[in-house]
């Protein structure tokens, strides 16, 4: 991966934003409402702030290896084989992540919009789009995000604005009925869905912004603004659909969009609103897949990741059909396995690697200094 793609800070912020909004915006109100009840929006805020801690870790981790991808850094710090071994969980998580996102999309389409179309058709079409995007490269993806971002904002504003008349603020009361405790788990869930997968940007960010401190701020800004969108959607979901409906719906945001009604003329525009989710899901899937494919390329020592895009894309499609045997298995996995899994890969491992990296850097530094005094 010798080609260094230069992204602008604006592009990077937008990518982070779209990625962290990703699938989160479509699904998160359900598990939050199930656990935190009417305080789901508070849980969302807590999770959002928690995400910033994670980002702080990623940014400081990235400062250790300017100009390198994460996996290259691992190989440099821990040696070739241990480094490759340590890269495996990240690559695996990206792989599972991209399959899950494809599954989400297909499942969303078949359950909510077009029940008669086989799920494979959606996965294939969307994967073709992913393959096209990844083959064109990071720069093109970033520019695409730049052009599509205003459309996302437009659709979101329309959604939020047209839903305001429906808000029933009584539904959020009583606030913190059972104290802070029930909020913690859903907040973790939020951070796991929205912020922890951001580690894939460690494959992008240190390479594209070698000496720019501002890039760290862009990372934070992206997560901050992205979080606002999700918090708003969670709040709308609780105040409009109510706790029960939000918790039971697989895709509460979609149910929310169905509520739009302007003068009995503009109504049931949920499919147009879904355009917004297709956009964010595309970027989520694209960067999961990017993490997976560049990781594989690094493992195999390929100079360019592009030849791997098509085969890896095919593998992702195939695994998206089997990653969840059923919707029940999906909710089981999400409520039990996913959170520890994400925390391990997205937080604990990076933390360990960060500390190891720091120690190694200090040792190197001392060695250098020692060598200097000997002469």
């Amino acid at each position: 991966m010798s080609d260094t793609v230069k992204l602008s800070l604006r592009q990077f912020t937008i990518l982070i934003l779209l990625y962290s909004v990703g699938t989160t915006i479509l699904v998160i109100p359900a598990p939050l409402a199930a656990d935190a009840r009417q305080d789901a929006w508070l849980a969302a805020i807590a999770g959002w702030l928690l995400g910033l801690v994670v980002v702080a870790l990623y940014v400081s981790l990235a400062r250790l290896f300017p100009g390198m991808t994460f996996t290259a850094f691992l190989e440099l710090t821990f040696g070739k084989w241990l480094g490759k071994l340590l890269a495996l969980p990240f690559i695996f998580f990206s792989f599972i992540g991209s399959s899950i996102v494809l599954y989400y999309l297909g499942n969303f389409m078949t359950t909510e919009i077009m029940p008669e179309t086989p799920i494979e058709a959606f996965a294939l079409l969307f994967a073709a789009l992913l393959v096209m995007g990844l083959r064109l490269g990071l720069e093109v993806l970033a520019r695409t995000a730049e052009i599509l971002f205003p459309w996302f904002i437009l659709l979101f504003t329309v959604l939020a604005l047209f839903l305001t008349p429906e808000i029933d603020s009584q539904k959020v009361l009583p606030i913190l009925e059972f104290g802070m405790k029930p909020i913690i788990w859903p907040a973790l869930n939020f951070a796991c869905t929205a912020s922890l997968p951001l580690y894939v940007f460690l494959m992008v960010y240190p390479v594209s912004f070698q000496h720019k401190k501002k890039a760290g701020n862009a990372f934070f800004t992206g997560v901050l603004i992205g979080g606002i969108f999700v918090v708003i959607v969670t709040f709308l979901s609780i105040t409009i659909l109510g706790v029960e409906l939000s918790a039971e719906n697989l895709y509460p945001s979609y149910a929310l969009a169905k509520k739009i009604n302007i003068g009995n003329f503009i109504q049931r525009v949920e499919i147009l609103m879904a355009g917004m989710w297709f956009l964010t899901i595309f970027f989520k899937a694209a960067f999961y897949a990017y993490g997976f494919i560049t990781g594989i390329a690094q493992l195999c020592g390929c100079k360019d990741y592009r030849p791997l895009v098509l085969p890896c894309g095919m593998i992702i499609v195939a695994s998206s059909f089997v990653v969840y045997p059923s919707v029940a298995a999906m909710s089981e996995f999400e409520s039990t396995v996913y959170i520890p899994f994400a925390i391990t890969v997205g937080f604990l491992l990076p933390l360990l690697i960060y500390m190891a990296g720091l120690v190694k850097k200090r040792i190197n530094h001392q060695e250098l200094q020692g060598a200097g005094t000997d002469d």
Binding site: I113, M132, L136, V140, T144, N264, V269, I271, G275
Partner: protein, 497 residues
């Protein structure tokens, strides 16, 4: 050509072998005129192409041939002196020069006993006079368009930009046709890298003939496998002058009024010359209408197919009932219906363009009316589909760049197919793919979608909005990288209080 005719052969001393060789090489063509005259003490030959050279000038020249007294040694000098009266002249020594001179309208003078000749430029062929540009009509603005003659075209641009920094480079491209191709740019404003790149790409061209600038366009464009044009063309000297002032390069090809402009951005195809002659607010409104038209022209039928096939809930109940009633007698699914109408329309349009002008318009209008009306009454298509197709068609005419409009027409069918299979999801996928493709394009190193992506706030003065001239203080950043400042911010003059 070059290998079977040793053209670089030097001119012989004797006149007669020279004349014989010229006759033989040019296949005794009737339009090549060789007149032998007495020039002082020696014989001389005047060679030119009938129809390309100005006959009157040549006749005048022959009448002025010197008397017998001129010495034999000074004959060539005398010849040159005379040639000066004809216009620019140069000394020539070989046959290649002879042929290139006479075949481009010059006259060659050969002397007996002298291995050098003189070629004078006596170009005087018939060409079309300057007339209104047909493809880019304006209500307000200059009404002159380029012609088929390269010199006339360069002079029209020079008349607009009277600046010593307006430079012209000419070269001949086409091994057989030897077509003159000129590059024009304003030195100091243009990005030197782009000029170098244009030169490089033009020099690489290895083709037998260039008959229109479309040949050049296809040979120098960045991306062949793209429906989108990355080279713009214009028939209007004012548009080309404006492009030069922004730091672009114009490529003029002899024999066509269409001048190429590079680098070209996506946005170029939505700007017309008139935008800059009208008030800024009106221009901005028109620009927005063009973008809306682009959207309708591209996804209009697709949205109709998608919504009536998969997302009926989107429609208000009354509209849905009336649509259902219309579609009751129609035997086809919406996609087939739309495809039928779109293809019919494209056929009509193509017929309208290709037919002799007097019949063309009448046939296309009558055809559309009759086919639309009759098709609805016969129950083959629904009336609403005719409306959708008509709006789409009109919208595609609004897109100012003709080459862009064609690509939109083409893409429409792809998006219709996706909408028929996947509804709105298919449309969104198609649009994302389209945006990605657009973002991957470059025109002579400049990202095609700039200033949208990469986003350049300063360059948005002339995209969807057209700010007043006093506010357009800078040139497009990525096109003219050297000399950005166009003018100092100057508020319009206001009456003193």
């Amino acid at each position: 050509m070059d290998n079977n005719m040793p053209q670089a052969e030097p001119i012989k001393v004797k006149l007669q072998p020279n004349i014989d060789k010229i006759r033989k090489d040019l296949g005794n063509s009737d339009d090549i005129v060789i007149r032998e005259i007495a020039f002082g003490v020696a014989r001389a030959a005047i060679i030119y192409t009938d129809g390309l050279a100005d006959k009157k000038m040549i006749t005048d020249f022959i009448l002025e041939t010197p008397d017998q007294t001129t010495e034999r040694d000074n004959l060539l000098e005398a010849l040159k002196e005379l040639a000066q009266k004809l216009g620019d002249y140069k000394e020539i020594t070989n046959f290649q020069e002879i042929y290139s001179s006479i075949l481009s309208g010059g006259t060659v003078l050969l002397l007996d006993g002298c291995s050098r000749g003189v070629s004078a430029s006596t170009q005087g062929w018939k060409d079309r006079s300057i007339s209104e540009p047909i493809s880019q009509v304006v209500v307000r603005g200059p009404q002159e368009g380029f012609t088929e003659t390269l010199r006339t075209n360069t002079s029209m641009i020079r008349r607009k930009i009277k600046n010593p920094n307006l430079w012209v480079e000419t070269r001949q491209i086409g091994k057989v046709t030897k077509t003159d191709v000129a590059i024009m740019y304003i030195n100091g404003i243009v990005n030197g890298k782009v000029v170098k790149e244009v030169r490089k790409r033009l020099d690489k061209i290895n083709i037998d003939g260039i008959l229109e600038s479309g040949y050049i366009e296809e040979l120098i464009q960045d991306e062949t496998y793209s429906p989108f044009p990355t080279v713009n063309n214009s028939e209007r000297p004012d548009s080309v002058a404006a492009a030069l002032l922004e730091g672009r390069v114009a490529i003029l090809v002899d024999g066509t009024p269409f001048v190429l402009i590079v680098p070209t951005l996506f946005i170029s195809f939505f700007q017309t010359a008139e935008d800059y002659y009208q008030r800024a607010d009106i221009s901005t409104l028109l620009r927005m209408i063009r973008f809306i038209s682009l959207f309708i022209a591209m996804v209009g039928p697709a949205l109709y197919i998608g919504i009536t096939t998969f997302h009926q809930e989107l429609l208000p109940t009354q509209l849905l009932i009336s649509l259902a009633a219309q579609r009751e007698g129609v035997p086809f699914p919406a996609f087939i219906e739309a495809l039928l109408m779109e293809i019919t329309f494209e056929i009509l349009r193509e017929a309208g363009i290709r037919m002799p002008r007097p019949i063309g318009q009448a046939v296309s209008i009558v055809g559309t009316l009759v086919i639309g009306q009759a098709a609805v009454e016969a129950g083959i298509v629904s009336a609403s589909m005719v409306i959708v197709v008509a709006i789409t068609a009109i919208s595609s005419f609004v897109i100012t760049g003709y080459s862009m409009a064609i690509s939109v027409r083409m893409l429409r069918f792809v998006i219709m197919g996706l909408a028929a299979a996947f509804g709105v999801f298919g449309i969104v996928v198609a649009l994302i793919a389209l945006v990605m493709h657009l973002c991957s394009l470059r025109s002579f190193g400049v990202p095609y979608m700039s200033p949208f992506a990469p986003f350049i706030p300063d360059d948005h003065k002339d995209t969807i909005f057209r700010l007043p001239h006093w506010a357009m203080t800078s040139r497009p950043r990525l096109i003219s990288q050297r000399n950005i400042i166009r003018e100092q911010m100057s508020r319009p003059a206001k009456p003193q209080k």
